[in-house]
Subunit: 221 residues, 2 copies
C-alpha cells in the first residue's frame, strides 16, 4: 500500500477548516509542511485536493483561502439578484405592482395622490426619452410609496436598482418608441383614475394591464 499521506493531510485540513481554526486564510504551504513534518510537495497535493472540491482557493503571491462565502449572507443574495433575467423580474413585477396599486387605492393620502398625478403629467409632457423614463419610473415609485408598506416600497427600490444595470439598459432602448410612450400615458391615466376613485380592484386591474403591455414590449412576442 502506498502511504497516502496526502489524503490523510487533506482530511486533517478539512477537519481543521470546518472547525473554524482559520477564518479565511490558511497558513502557507511551507509552514504546513513543517507542521505536518512532511515535504511541501505533499502538502501541495493535499491542498490541491481541497481546491478541486471547492473547499479552498489558491492565489499566487497571496496565499490559500477557504472558499467560505456564506450563500445566505445579504451580499451573496444581492450578488445573485444582479443576474436576474428580465423574464423573472417581470413575473415578480406582475405580482407586486398590481398589489401595490390596490394598497395605494385604499391607503394613499390626498397629498400622495397629488404626487402621483404630478409624476403622471410630467411624464406625459416629457419631450425626450430620458426625461419620460425618469418620470415613468417616478410614477410607479410614488404608487409604491402610497401602499403604506415600507417593505414593499423597498422591494420596488431593489427592482429599480437591478433594472438600472447592464443588460436592461439596451433592452429598454430597443423596446421604445413614440407610439408606445403614448400607450403608456393612456394606461397610466387609467391607473391614476382608479386610484383617485379609491377603487382598489380597478387600480389592481389597470396596473396589471399596463404591466402586461410593458412585458409584451420588453420581452417581445
Amino acid at each position: 500500500m502506498p502511504k497516502l499521506v496526502a489524503g490523510d493531510i487533506a482530511t486533517a485540513l478539512r477537519k481543521r477548516i470546518s472547525s473554524g481554526e482559520w477564518e479565511d486564510r490558511i497558513p502557507p504551504e511551507r509552514d504546513l509542511a513543517g507542521e505536518f513534518g512532511v515535504a511541501r510537495n505533499t502538502v501541495r497535493r493535499a491542498v490541491g485536493l481541497l481546491e478541486e472540491d471547492g473547499t479552498l482557493v489558491r492565489q499566487v503571491g497571496r496565499g490559500t483561502f477557504v472558499a467560505a462565502a456564506d450563500p445566505n449572507s445579504m451580499p451573496a443574495v444581492f450578488a445573485r439578484m444582479e443576474g436576474t433575467s428580465p423574464a423573472d423580474m417581470m413575473e415578480i413585477r406582475l405580482l407586486l405592482e398590481p398589489a401595490a396599486a390596490g394598497f395605494a387605492a385604499t391607503n394613499a393620502s390626498a397629498g400622495e395622490l397629488n404626487a402621483v398625478r404630478d409624476a403622471y403629467q410630467t411624464a406625459c409632457e416629457a419631450t425626450d426619452m430620458p426625461e419620460f423614463e425618469h418620470w415613468d419610473a417616478e410614477f410607479h415609485h410614488r404608487i409604491f410609496a402610497c401602499s403604506r408598506n415600507e417593505f414593499l416600497k423597498e422591494l420596488h427600490n431593489l427592482m429599480r436598482i437591478l433594472r438600472n444595470q447592464s443588460p436592461w439598459f439596451e433592452m429598454k432602448k430597443r423596446s421604445f418608441s413614440e407610439e408606445r410612450r403614448q400607450t403608456y400615458c393612456v394606461e397610466h391615466e387609467a391607473i391614476l383614475d382608479r386610484l383617485l376613485r379609491r377603487d382598489p380592484e380597478g387600480a389592481r386591474a389597470a396596473m396589471l394591464a399596463h404591466l402586461q403591455t410593458v412585458a409584451r414590449n420588453l420581452l417581445g412576442r
Copy 2:
C-alpha cells in the same frame, strides 16, 4: 508572509467611519500611515478599497471625505429593509408565497417535489422546536426552489434573512405551541398534496390558507 494589512486597515477605517469618528473629512493619508504604523502606499490601498465601494470620495489637494449615503444604493436599501415590520413582511409573503406555490405546481421536477416532501416529513417528525423550525423553513424554501424563478427564490432568501433578525426571534418563540405545530403540519400536507397533483390553483389556495394561519398566530388577533 504578505500580511494583507491593507484589508485590515480598510475594515478598521470602515468601522471608525460608521462610528462617526469623522464627520466629513478623514485625516490625510500621511497621518493615517503614521497612526497605523504603515507605509503611505498601504494606506492608499486601504482607502482605495473604501473608495471603490463608495464609502469614501477622494479629491486632490483637498482631502478624503466620507461619501454622502446614496439612498438608492443596495446597502441603503438593505439597511432600510432591516427595519421591516412583521405586518408589512407578512403582507408580502401573502403575495409571493402563494404565487410561488402555484409556479411550483406547474414547473417542479419530480426530484424537486421529492425534496419538498422530505422536508415536510422531517418537519412533522421533528421532536424539538428548533429542528421543526429549520425544516419548516426548508419546506417553504424548497417550494420557492421549484418555482423556476431565480429572482423569486432570492426574494425568499432575503425575507428569510430578515426574519432571522432580532425582533422576529422572540416573536416566533412567543407565538409557538405544540398545537400550532400540528396545525402547520396538516396545512403543509395540504400544500404538498396539491403540488403532487400538479394543481397550481389548489397549491396557491392551500399556501394562502396556511400563511393566513401563520399571520394570525404571529401577529395575534
